[in-house]
């Protein structure tokens, strides 16, 4: 028979006013297995806790029920007290007779009767409570950051500066991300590269940052504190160690007219190239789709020209393995690509704007490159079709964003600001030019943001029309933009030289695949899901995986950087101890009775179920079974419900405990 102690709290008058605590204690004293039942004014106060400790010792109690407030209030308190007296803390249960009894009832007799009932269920349960010890998981104090844009760089530098090693994985040949290609940044109009490149160099040279560029995450196994990441280093054909970054190869490469990815097709690059001069690492890569040596075994000039002999046409993809304890995802965004690819099949995207048909209809990132001092035109604004300086530019906002019909219902948040910036930059370059903006609403919340938009309108004279553009056609080298001015209530037609579409922000390509690898969630648009929108904005529902930057939602540079630092600090918190302590109230599976149907595996929200093979000593397979990964399980118990043989059980709420509670109500 158990030796259970029941301690009934008065909570001053809070409980005792409505519940007859003497009667409760007396009734509890008669319950099977109860060794002693006491009541006291404040069980949570020191004397109350001392009473519990004393009784555990003197009555050799093997389980305790404290009938007082909500377990969410004091379960930890009382379990600590029990532990101090040498009782396993998980052998202590609480009966909530305050929030769920004395505070919500007035009739003292019935409240007392209910309180006794509540304690009875707790007593019935605690008899079966297992003694548990916290699960300790070793913590590899080393982080991986996926994505080397401004958010990834920030997170990597913060973690590295705190003294931990960081693996930074970037799929492009250089880190820097989208920001490296921007012209100037709102609302201060400071040069984007001027502020970013020093950070890129810092990251590239940091002793604790290991850079994997032109590399992608292949797979991840393990769990918080113990991830094992496999990274695919894509074939570069250039030996990173031998190459000095001199650039001779780029000069000699005869195949110079390939659209530059970095310039979004606004400029050209050779087959062997660095995406931009300040690239980190300053090493070129060969485009295997166009290189004549690779495509048809011709040319090979670069190989001959390269003095250090860094060109290696036999190069192949390599897989590297890294053990890390935490992962930060900062994969950023891409633009809604108008008319070419849509988020879902049911949408057809903006054929009426003629993007892809008319050369002078471009998107906002292309415009950034056209107007960037380091861009393909060296900062001189020349339109793509004929290189003329446009005397008029039409900017169209919300292309894809806030469009339920053929785009995405959400607001991309930054377009209002960069469109205002674009009009300014344009007016600063072409003083006589006209900037027209078609918009739906102006959303400029942020420090100095609305002032910035007003400056574009009032000081730089951009013409803003509140209305949508219906159609763009090309006539004699001019683009005819037909739209509406809803404030004036009239249709508007603007003849212009260049049209810039502020396309919606979407998560970068492949984010869904990445999310699957990491077992984190995506919303319907592919943005990664945070654990809680307010309170856990950079955590995900997989322990040890964090998100920051535009992969989580559209955001601008300051926000991305702030979030990156937040993610970094979360990582550092988890690195503050060498072991990770996890609550032991998680699931377990009886492998002997498990029928290996793996219903639990399909159901587990945390992918915490593993398949194991039980083998005899001679290696013969005895059976297959499911097993819980203790590092991943969060203890929801969903597996227990779907387990037909109830081989799965959840500690803290085992089948025995739960049925004992239900039966105690009978």
């Amino acid at each position: 028979m158990s030796r259970i102690g029941v301690f009934v709290c008065w909570c001053g008058e809070n409980i005792a006013r409505t519940v007859d605590v003497d009667q409760v204690a007396e009734a509890c004293g008669e319950m099977p297995g109860v060794r002693c039942a006491q009541n006291y004014k404040y069980m949570c106060a020191d004397p109350g806790q001392a009473m519990i400790r004393e009784k555990i010792a003197s009555e050799r109690l093997d389980a305790v029920v404290v009938a007082s407030c909500s377990p969410h209030m004091h379960l930890k308190t009382f379990r600590r007290a029990a532990a101090a007296a040498g009782l396993n803390p998980y052998r202590l249960e609480m009966a909530n007779i305050r929030e769920q009894c004395s505070w919500v009832h007035h009739d003292k007799d019935r409240a007392t009767e209910k309180a006794i009932g509540i304690v009875r269920t707790a007593v019935a349960k605690v008899r079966y409570n297992h003694a548990l010890s916290p699960i300790r998981v070793p913590m590899t104090r080393r982080a991986m950051v996926i994505g080397g844009g401004v958010a990834g760089i920030q997170a990597a530098l913060d973690i590295a500066d705190a003294g931990y090693e960081v693996v930074l994985v970037e799929r492009e040949p250089s880190i820097g991300g989208k920001m490296a290609g921007l012209s100037e940044t709102f609302p201060t109009l400071d040069c984007s590269q001027c502020i970013l490149t020093p950070r890129m160099v810092e990251a590239g040279q940091h002793p604790r940052i290991k850079l994997y560029t032109y590399s992608e995450l292949e797979s991840v196994s393990g769990f918080v504190g113990n991830f094992e990441a496999t990274i695919r280093k894509k074939t570069r054909y250039v030996d990173m160690a031998k190459c000095t970054g001199c650039g001779e190869c780029q000069k000699i490469c005869p195949l110079k007219r390939n659209p530059s990815e970095f310039d979004f097709g606004m400029g050209m690059r050779p087959a062997i190239f660095m995406p931009f001069p300040q690239a980190v690492p300053a090493r070129p890569v060969i485009d295997k789709k166009v290189c004549a040596k690779i495509v048809r075994n011709g040319c090979g000039l670069c190989e001959k020209k390269c003095a250090p002999g860094a060109i290696n046409f036999k190069d192949q993809d390599e897989l590297a393995t890294e053990r890390v304890g935490a992962i930060v995802v900062a994969t950023g965004y891409k633009l809604y690509s108008i008319g070419r690819e849509q988020p879902s099949a049911k949408t057809t995207g903006y054929g009426e704007y003629g993007y892809g048909k008319y050369k002078d209809v471009i998107d906002s990132l292309q415009f950034e490159r056209l107007i960037s001092a380091s861009g393909p035109t060296n900062g001189e604004l020349k339109r793509p079709s004929d290189g003329k300086i446009p005397q008029s530019v039409v900017f169209i906002a919300c292309v894809g964003s806030r469009d339920n019909a053929k785009g995405l219902p959400y607001c991309s948040k930054i377009c209002c600001m960069y469109t205002a910036k674009h009009t300014m930059l344009y007016k600063h370059k072409v003083h006589s030019g006209e900037a027209h903006v078609f918009y739906m609403d102006i959303r400029a919340g942020g420090k100095g943001y609305d002032e910035f938009v007003r400056r574009a309108i009032e000081k730089d004279g951009a013409k803003y029309y509140r209305g949508r553009v219906s159609k763009i056609t090309e006539e004699n080298g001019k683009l005819i933009v037909r739209g509406a001015d809803t404030l004036a209530g009239v249709p508007v037609t603007v003849e212009t030289d260049l049209v810039v579409l502020a396309s919606a922000m979407r998560p970068a390509d492949g984010v869904e695949r990445l999310a699957q690898k990491l077992n984190i969630g995506c919303d319907e648009f592919g943005f990664l899901m945070e654990s809680h929108p307010k309170l856990r904005p950079v955590e995900t529902n997989t322990a040890g995986v964090y998100v920051c930057g535009a992969c989580q939602a559209p955001k601008d540079i300051p926000e991305s950087v702030a979030q990156a630092s937040a993610a970094a600090s979360k990582v550092m918190i988890s690195f503050s101890a060498s072991e990770l302590t996890r609550e032991p109230e998680i699931a377990r599976i009886d492998e002997q009775t498990c029928a290996a149907c793996f219903a639990c595996e399909r159901t587990c929200p945390y992918h915490a179920i593993e398949r194991v093979e039980l083998r005899a000593r001679n290696g013969d397979l005895i059976k297959r079974a499911a097993r819980v990964n203790q590092g991943l399980c969060m203890g929801c118990g969903t597996c227990v419900s779907v387990c037909p043989s109830k081989s799965a059980d959840s500690e803290g709420f085992t089948e025995e405990e739960v049925y004992a509670m239900v039966e105690a109500l009978a």
Partner: protein, 155 residues
């Protein structure tokens, strides 16, 4: 079309949003709308503007609230429906005769009456003028369909 309209589709939709039905059905635009569906296809908020126009025309028709310029459109469409009710298929000559006749009775415009009259000869030359239109065999069922759809007295 919007350029010719007294109220652009945005205004028509706005009036409807505000519940100002009377004002909306008296707007000229609803009769100028050619049902080309462009507005519906382009609206980012999935508003079926062309459908709204349809609905307003229907409302105006039921309440007899068509604007003066809309009357011709209405008369034509009523004549069209009446034509179908009678024959099951369009009888062009009958339609034109009825339409022109009705407008003439109201407008007394001889110019209107005889405009396009020259086309008749040309159509005839091209064997496109069919003086006896087609009729469906089961005209009674057409009549009953109109009856049940609440369009018995279409004209």
């Amino acid at each position: 079309m919007a350029g010719r309209m007294d109220a652009p589709p945005t205004k028509v939709v706005r009036l409807v949003q505000l519940g100002q039905w009377d004002a909306a059905m008296r707007v000229e635009s609803i009769w100028q709308c050619v049902s080309c569906q462009t507005c519906s296809a382009r609206c980012p908020k999935l508003v079926d503007c062309a459908g709204v126009m349809d609905a307003l025309r229907q409302l105006a028709f039921e309440r007899g609230a068509a604007s003066p310029a809309g009357r011709a459109v209405m008369v034509f469409q009523r004549a069209f429906l009446e034509n179908i009710r009678r024959y099951g298929r369009l009888n062009e000559i009958d339609l034109i005769a009825r339409f022109k006749g009705e407008v003439f009775l109201k407008s007394r415009s001889l110019a209107f009456l005889f405009r396009d009259a020259g086309l008749a000869g040309q159509l005839h030359k091209r064997r496109k003028l069919h003086l006896t239109g087609e009729k469906v065999r089961d005209r009674a069922v057409v009549e009953r369909i109109f009856e049940r759809a609440g369009a018995g007295g279409a004209a």
